[in-house]
């Protein structure tokens, strides 16, 4: 097996071991625990108080903007990794190009802030 893939075999073995451990412990728990189901026990746990309303609450569109901002900077991060890795190689040229990239994206954050969508209401 190639050296590269052998390194990932470790990852696979760890993943398998973790899964096995979960299965083992759950089976053990299932085997030794007493089983007395009741209606009370199957109610959703909401910090001790009885749950109110249905299981679905429509969320506000405001949260979607946060998610979108997250995507924006997630994509930015993806471009920063390869740049950071070869930072010295790219030198001033890379700094300028990445600077332009980040500044333009940061304008999005400024826009969101000025339009008040970041305010926590």
């Amino acid at each position: 097996m190639a050296e590269f893939l052998r390194a990932y075999l470790t990852v696979a073995v760890f993943a398998g071991a973790a899964g096995l451990l979960v299965a083992l412990l759950s089976t053990l728990g299932w085997a030794v625990r007493p089983s007395r189901p009741s209606r009370q026990k199957s109610i959703a746990y909401e910090s001790g108080v009885d749950p109110a309303g249905t299981d679905f609450g429509q969320s506000q569109v405001r949260y979607y903007i946060f998610a979108l901002l997250f995507v924006l900077f997630d994509v930015e991060a993806v471009y920063i990794f390869p740049w950071a890795l070869r930072l010295e190689g790219y030198g001033v040229f890379g700094l300028v190009e990445m600077g332009v990239f980040i500044v333009i994206l940061a304008l999005g954050l400024v826009y969101a802030w000025r339009k008040g969508v970041l305010r926590w209401v």
């Binding site: 070869r86 190689g89 790219y90 030198g91 040229f93 333009i104 304008l107 400024v110 826009y111 000025r114």
Partner: protein, 500 residues
Amino acid sequence: MPPVFDTPAIDYHAFAPEIAMVVTLVVLLFVDLVFEERGRWATATVAGIGLLASVVPVLSLAVDGADRSLFGGAYVVDNFALVLKALFLVAGYVTVLISTDYIADGDYYEGEYYFMLVSSLLGMTVMASARDLISIFVALEMLSIPAYLLAGWRKRDLRGNEASLKYYLLGVFASAVMLYGMSLVFGVSGSTLLVDINQAISRGVDSVPLVTVGIVFIVVGFAFKVSAVPFHTWAPDTYQGAPTPITAFLSVASKAAGFAALVQIVFIGFLGREDVWAPMFWVLAALTMTVGNLIALRQTNLVRLLAYSSVAQAGFMLAPFAVAADIPADRGGVGAATGAVVTYLLIYAGMNLGAFAVVMAVARKTRSAEISAYGGLFAYAPGLAVLMGVFVFSLAGIPPLAGWYAKFVVFKTLLDAGTVAAVTLAVVAVVNSVIALFYYASVARQMIMEPAPEAETARVRVPGSLGAALGICAVATLAFGAFPGLIAQLGDLALLGVLP
């Protein structure tokens, strides 16, 4: 030890139009953020000046004349790119002019509106120079995503939402299909550069089915963009539901960008595989002309009529692709087909933007785009009626208006090719020109012969910027028709540069 990185040489003159547009975008955003309501009126001016300022480097590059190839041929500034960049910028400027009062009256988000418009135009100018698959794809998304949003700019209007959603869903679907095609072509050629792809796929007969599927998928993606039948279904609903200036923008600039991409991909990347794409373009062209025209005949709403007419016009622009490879070299070869497409685009931009500008001017009074609302226009607003007449008869291809020369160039390429398929397509095009005359003339008949509905004969007040847009379009339509030599030179110039 990591390999040494060679910093690519950057020719800032070649990027000057794009840099000017990015600066315009930043200024627009700042005007909107800093001055808020007080700066609203200024945003249209900033956008207009920014676009005109971006034309300056295009002209200086044209005067300089040398073809510039950057990043190993991924980004090329040649005469083709410059002519199209100028077209996009001027069409964008006219769109700003016709938007000014519409958007200011409607209490829409002005700063953001012009920001989106200039972003979309930035994608188009990049598209004109993009000579590799990734640049083409990013440019396509850059021009499309703001367009999806602009189509739904009237966000409380159900038709506006429908327009935006249909355009968006079908648009991303077409992008996905095209991207898959690109991945297949890349798989065969191992390069994203169009020149390399051309060498790889025209060389041998290996993996014929794969190349075929790749080419078909990519062409289908752009067929959606230029609303070729059968990928046109979004166009009428989107055109009707979008704000009218955006409809004009989509039907002219967005369509031109789709053709710019097609010309580059097909005439650089896929040249030598015309066995795959020539029949496909033949079918697309014939279907697009015919179906667009037949449905246009039955429309009662002028915006929908212009939507279908613009579908039909796209058919004429597709026709040169179908015969490009059959044009003998002494008659210009593929270059003649490129010239025909560019010439048609330039002329079509003027007359179609003009027609939409008249629709907007009239709608300011009648609040309607129904054809029946145009009754008696000649009596109470003779200037607008004459202009409308000029634009629709130009679209129909009546000499001496510019539209006839556009059609003439297309017929010339078809007859120069001289094959049976080409001549058949020419016959289809002639029949369609006649059909089109019916509905274009019916608009004129309504304006002159019918009485005004409810005897509404107050004067139509045309605001200054809309008047300027009408003037630019009318001058272009008349001048290009009377002196086709002007446009012929531009069309001949617009050849794809010789690539390294």
